[in-house]
């Protein structure tokens, strides 16, 4: 369920690092908690982001929830598919429905994040 090559935040984002690029999304647990997602608000390319700071929001029928950046860097690209099809976040949160790609400025921050097994025990404990 939770890919081994991702790292996870306590706020239920994931990041996959390849070279100096980090791809960011929300976890399957997050989409389940939110329910039917109807809006996604994302930053524009070029915007600097900081680990643990808000970069946007995800809104469901029931509630709105902030997205926090797992790592620091600069936004390179946002997922263009989500503007018209935010429900993809319910269907494939770890794949097709990634949110943004950032160019990492402090890769060492990865150490602050959880592994897949740590995240799974974290959400297990939260229940």
């Amino acid at each position: 369920m939770y890919p081994e090559d991702f790292r996870y935040t306590k706020e239920h984002e994931w990041v996959r690092v390849e070279g100096d690029t980090g791809t960011i999304g929300i976890t399957d647990h997050a989409q389940q908690e939110l329910g039917d997602i109807v809006y996604v608000d994302l930053p524009k390319p070029g915007v600097p982001v900081e680990q643990g700071k808000t970069i946007g929001s995800v809104e469901s029928v029931k509630a709105v929830s902030d997205i926090y950046s797992p790592l620091s860097g600069e936004v390179m690209e946002i997922n263009p598919a989500l503007a018209d099809a935010p429900e993809k976040l319910n269907e494939d949160p770890h794949g097709e429905a990634w949110l943004v790609k950032i160019r990492l400025s402090a890769p060492a921050e990865l150490e602050n994040l959880m592994s897949a097994s740590q995240y799974q025990s974290y959400i297990g404990a939260e229940k």
């Binding site: 039917d36 109807v38 029928v61």
Partner: protein, 367 residues
């Protein structure tokens, strides 16, 4: 969730768990928020049929020779005008004219009125009515005697008809009858909180699980879905029905909430009447109006409303409307701004987002 132990549960709690519902604390009750998803459940009710556990709702019964007089003294609508087996939407008010609760009054007989009240208000309502009772009537708190299911949607009648000898097609909207469902005694009312045709049935708690399962099986061929409070909320909001704690509470009067039609001043004395008369003379400062978002953004409960940059009210309920594919809401606006077509700004997370006031209900079913 550690708090779960202190929450109250309905007789169908294990059914919800088996269906893997997402459960939430709703006014002290652990209730299903959703099963498959709010949008899917919402659409099932609009296009097929949905089944809701609403056993958390409270029941209070008035019995005795002056039960009707008591009903009229504590409620705003004209209870004694009801015929037996008729239902009426009404309100309990404080003497200052604010809402204690909104209720459904069922006239069972001249000496017996059956009230369906909001879950989180039931003890308060019971005390309120008891204290006002100076009639030859008894006030009974009977919530423990009933589980309640709502079967709602265009196929609700076909589904329920398979399980009852009562000719449901002959029942009119806002009428009820005491009959049987799946062989168990049931009070069947053609009422609902979704804007669709449908029924609410009051059944013995010990039979609730069996009846739920039988209704469900009877509904499979019609595409029945279990529906949670999330869909119940989006459905009632599209139909612009009030929810206690949002559109109405102790600080709001029926005039402000647009519920003039459930206030019968001419029926004579009732609790809150003097305050309502005074308010009617002076006029109200604010009114409930519907709005649609014109720009991207969803209004949520409690968001501030501005007109021309000046604070003018607050959002009572806001949500995407699954049937309408719009973002809608209800808000209180100062009376001078409360006309249809008024451009307003909703503060969505510190950003003003444009909306416009519109006619309600937002959704009306084709008849």
């Amino acid at each position: 969730m550690a708090a779960a132990a202190s929450l109250r549960a309905t007789p169908l709690h294990s059914v919800h768990c088996a269906l893997r519902a997402k459960l939430v604390d709703f006014g002290g009750w652990e209730m299903p928020l959703q099963y498959s998803g709010i949008v899917e459940e919402h659409q099932a009710v609009r296009t097929a049929v949905g089944l809701f556990d609403v056993s958390h709702m409270g029941e209070i019964e008035l019995r005795g020779p002056e039960a009707g007089k008591l009903a009229d003294f504590v409620s705003t609508n004209h209870a004694q005008k009801l015929k037996s087996e008729q239902v009426q939407y009404s309100a309990l008010l404080y003497t200052h004219g604010g809402f204690v609760d909104d209720i459904l009054v069922h006239k069972v007989a001249e000496d017996h009125y059956f009230l369906c009240v909001n879950a989180s208000n039931q003890e308060k309502d019971f005390e309120h009515i008891r204290q006002l009772n100076r009639f030859d009537a008894r006030v009974e708190f009977t919530s423990e005697r009933y589980a309640q299911l709502a079967i709602q949607g265009p196929h609700a009648l076909a589904v329920l008809q398979k399980l009852t000898p009562t000719n449901l097609a002959a029942m009119r909207y806002y009428w009820f009858t005491d009959s049987e469902v799946a062989g168990a005694p049931a009070r069947i009312a053609r009422t609902g909180y979704t804007g669709e045709d449908g029924f609410e049935i009051y059944i013995p708690p010990a039979e609730a699980e069996r009846i739920w399962n039988e209704v469900f099986e009877a509904g499979v061929e019609y595409g029945i879905r279990p529906c949670g409070l999330g869909a119940r909320n989006t459905l009632r909001l599209e139909a612009a029905m009030a929810l206690y704690g949002h559109e109405i509470d102790a600080s709001i009067s029926p005039w402000e909430a647009g519920l003039d039609w459930i206030v019968k001043l001419e029926k004579g004395e009732f609790t809150g009447r003097d305050a309502l008369l005074r308010q009617k003379q002076v006029g109200v400062k604010r009114k409930l109006v519907g709005f649609e978002m014109r720009e991207r953004g969803i209004a949520r409960d409690g968001y501030e409303v501005y007109v021309d940059g000046v604070p003018a009210g607050w959002v009572t309920s806001g949500s995407p409307a699954p049937t309408l594919h719009k973002n809608i809401g209800l808000c209180y606006l100062s009376s001078d701004h409360a006309q249809i077509g008024r451009v307003i700004q909703i503060m969505v997370r510190s950003q003003p987002v444009e909306a416009v006031t519109v006619e309600t209900p937002f959704y009306k079913r084709a008849r």
